[in-house]
């Protein structure tokens, strides 16, 4: 088949993703249309070939890393197909390979290639042009991700604290099942009856699915299938790590951009004070769009990088008595209101034992860019260190957690991490979405011994967090690296149910083999 190319050295890059896991494959394709995806899938289905779906390979859990079979790379499907409006909002229909950064640029400049758009789209676009600015709220740190990838893992970002994860902003998807049949789902149209869901394919087949029985944790979550009683069918496929179908098209909802966006970095001398501050602020001040955390080691990484004269040299100096930082982003409609909120944040800070001098307030675009840069600099610096250490020991990778817990466990989860790191004498840097009790604790192994200790500690944490009713993946997805923890979180019975669900849609178990399920379960025939 012409669309399918045998794998060769020129495609080496497609064997890895940002998790730095490297796999292997037999063939690869870069479809440009839904029809091409369908014909590729049909061919592979006949030949019982396993398929790994790939976007921009920015994922952190190896979901896009193939272990044999075919790589279906959708990055060439990067067109914006149309626009729709209703009373409140604007919606864009896009192909799954659209890159988030490009999308954001187009939305803010309101410039789209509309040559192939139909009249309804053009009409909606015209009113979009004269409407106040809009934005797409999900803001994962890695903004070169594809939208298809973001939907596959239900990505989120700092602003998900206020606006929710990607799921909340997806209003329609089209997907191709493993055998090539097309399913088109619009939010609000197809619902489950308790835990039984019937979906209809484009050619009229009804497929009835028994949904797993487990209850999802009451936290930010991107672990396993989204299921609940009477759920909307579309939600099953969002965050399914491409194990149920291949997304061929999606519709995203835009949100009016708040006229005033300010960022405040609040520095504290101790973690205890920072946690207290978070508890005082969240849900108490309206308009808090993001609450992010950086611990002392994360700030030290920045200081070191800055001194070594890298790109981070443009950042302001972080005074040495600033031991940790909570970044708050405020969204509001008027200047008076946002200023009032800022002073409220200040009051809470003083209550938590902080000092109003120890704040950086960004009120214009330049300053906000600076604080965003600071946020992105932390993971970037950690990666640089790991890449350095990899040179002496190639086995070393960053061990980054992505777990969330319910609100009442925020202090407890900090204790869990701190005591574990201390007892095992491990180097680490921590940042993340503290408003959602969702921290990325990054173990930075110095040698392979540390790496082993770290992986063990990681499992212990997953266990404890499952006990707290938390999620083992809050935003990165499960992919291949965290499938073991999914079982820890939900138990083997639930995994059986998930596997059964997958086989109802993908009877040969070809799609994204290895994602969600440890190989001996769903992946293997």
């Amino acid at each position: 088949m012409e669309l399918i190319k045998p794998f060769s050295d020129e495609y080496m890059d497609y064997l890895r993703d940002e998790s730095r896991t490297v796999g292997y494959a037999d063939s690869i394709s870069f479809p440009k249309t839904e029809e091409e995806i369908v014909s590729i899938l049909k061919y592979l289905y006949q030949n019982n070939t396993a398929i790994t779906v790939q976007g921009a390979r920015t994922g952190l859990v190896a979901a896009a890393v193939p272990f044999g079979g075919h790589i279906l790379n959708i990055s060439k499907m990067d067109k914006i197909l149309g626009c729709r409006k209703d009373q409140k909002n604007f919606y864009l229909t896009i192909e799954p390979g659209v890159i988030l950064m490009e999308l954001n640029k187009k939305i803010s400049s309101k410039k789209f290639d509309t040559t192939s758009w139909n009249e309804i789209s053009l009409e909606a676009y015209n009113s979009f042009l004269s409407s106040p600015p809009m934005f797409f709220t999900p803001d994962p740190t890695e903004n070169t991700a594809t939208l298809g990838g973001m939907v596959a893992c239900n990505a989120s970002g700092a602003r998900s604290f206020m606006y929710g994860a990607t799921r909340n902003h997806i209003t329609a998807i089209r997907l191709a099942l493993a055998d090539g049949r097309i399913v088109s789902l619009k939010r609000g149209e197809t619902f489950a009856n308790l835990r039984t869901l019937t979906i209809t394919t484009q050619n009229g087949d009804n497929i009835t699915l028994d949904l797993p029985k487990y209850e999802m944790p009451n936290t930010k979550n991107a672990s396993g299938y989204f299921v609940k009683d009477n759920m909307d069918a579309i939600d099953l496929f969002i965050g399914s790590d491409s194990t149920l179908g291949v997304i061929t098209e999606l519709e995203i909802a835009l949100t009016p951009l708040p006229p005033h966006i300010w960022g405040i970095s609040c520095f504290f001398e101790s973690e205890i004070k920072a946690i207290k501050f978070v508890q005082l602020v969240r849900y108490k001040i309206e308009g808090v769009a993001a609450m992010e955390y950086f611990d002392q080691t994360a700030l030290n990484l920045l200081r070191n990088q800055k001194e070594s004269g890298t790109a981070f040299a443009q950042l302001p100096d972080v005074p040495y008595n600033y031991n940790c930082c909570v970044y708050i982003e405020l969204h509001a409609n008027t200047e008076e209101s946002i200023e009032g909120k800022m002073f409220e944040v200040g009051e809470k800070m003083e209550l938590a034992g902080g000092n109003l001098d120890d704040t950086w307030v960004a009120r214009n675009e330049n300053d906000i860019d600076c604080l965003h840069f600071l946020r992105h600099a932390a993971p970037e610096s950690a990666n640089m260190i790991i890449d350095q250490r990899k040179k002496t020991d190639p086995m070393i990778t960053k061990l980054g957690t992505d777990m969330s817990v319910p609100d009442q466990f925020l202090e407890e989860v900090f204790d869990l991490y701190r005591s574990g790191l201390e007892e095992n004498n491990l180097e680490s840097a921590t940042w993340g979405h503290i408003g959602n009790n969702h921290l990325h604790v990054n173990i930075l192994p110095r040698d392979s011994e540390d790496y082993k200790t770290g992986t063990i500690l990681y499992s212990i944490w997953a266990d404890e967090i499952a006990k707290m009713g938390g999620a083992i993946s809050a935003e990165h997805g499960v992919g291949k690296l965290k499938s073991y923890f999914l079982e820890v979180m939900y138990g083997s019975e639930s995994i059986e149910q998930m596997t059964a669900l997958k086989y109802q849609l993908d009877p040969k178990g070809l799609l994204s083999k290895g994602n969600l399920f440890t190989p001996k379960k769903g992946g293997e025939n």
């Binding site: 970095s265 109003l356 950086w360 600076c370």
Partner: protein
């Protein structure tokens, strides 16, 4: 140590394009910001003050809206602000601006050091600093990239020159213009913002500074803009298509012809 920092309000973006239909100039975005070079000058001034004590006054000539940015400067460590605002100042070229700022400086009174950004990002003239210093008859140094030493008598600084740098010693009072990299501007703190809301911001008219209005604004400007236009681009280019390998070969063959 009494320090004055000159600041200009500039458009946040220099994006200007030609409307294809009317063939006229359209500006994209019309927010205004503190000229980034001046932000660096402000930071340098505040750091000197924090070390030696004293007072930083930020001085600007501009439209009334400039008050907003002066408040911003106050939130970032300046102590006082003075805005020279009068329709008699509109249309000033660099000489008229330097004249007006000079009167502003005299109104502020005794000073030890004046800092200016090397240039403004909208005009790119880099002339205000030297012209102001000449008007005040004080020594000055342009393109300063480091303040090495300063006390109430003298300043030792490094300046960038073509092909290198120079270390200079200048008695105070003096004026320096600074390059953007001299300091990374700080962000204001909540405390700073609170201070800026009530800090002293004086607005002075032509009369307040006893300006001779034949020397200010458009009338007082020896240079006149007689025409503005957007540069025209013309083009006929060959496009290379294909995969990266093929394109690279085509590029290599062009390079082969030329080099």
């Amino acid at each position: 140590m009494k320090i004055i920092v000159c600041m200009k309000q500039v458009p946040s973006s220099n994006d200007v394009h030609l409307d294809p239909v009317t063939n006229t100039i359209i500006r994209d975005g019309n927010k205004s910001i503190i000229n980034p070079f001046d932000s660096s000058a402000l930071e340098q001034a505040v750091e000197i003050k924090e070390r030696l004590g004293g007072e930083v006054t930020v001085l600007s000539m501009g439209i009334p809206d400039t008050q907003r940015l002066l408040r911003d400067a106050l939130s970032r460590g300046c102590d006082k602000a003075v805005l020279l605002s009068d329709s008699a100042f509109a249309g000033s070229d660099t000489l008229a601006t330097a004249y007006t700022l000079g009167l502003g400086v005299k109104k502020i009174g005794k000073f030890d050091l004046i800092l200016c950004g090397k240039m403004a990002v909208d005009g790119d003239t880099a002339q205000i600093g030297p012209e102001l210093a000449e008007n005040l008859n004080i020594p000055h140094v342009t393109d300063v990239d480091e303040v090495i030493f300063v006390n109430d008598k003298e300043i030792i600084c490094s300046k960038l020159i073509d092909g290198g740098s120079q270390i200079l010693n200048v008695p105070l009072p003096a004026l320096i213009t600074v390059v953007k990299d001299i300091k990374i501007p700080r962000l204001p703190s909540i405390k700073g913002i609170r201070f800026s809301q009530t800090a002293s911001l004086e607005i002075l008219t032509a009369q307040d500074i006893s300006a001779d209005i034949t020397k200010t604004g458009l009338n007082g400007s020896p240079t006149q803009v007689v025409k503005t236009f957007t540069p025209v681009q013309e083009n006929t280019s060959v496009e290379f298509k294909g995969n990266a390998k093929k394109i690279a070969k085509q590029i290599a063959s062009v390079l082969g012809e030329v080099l």
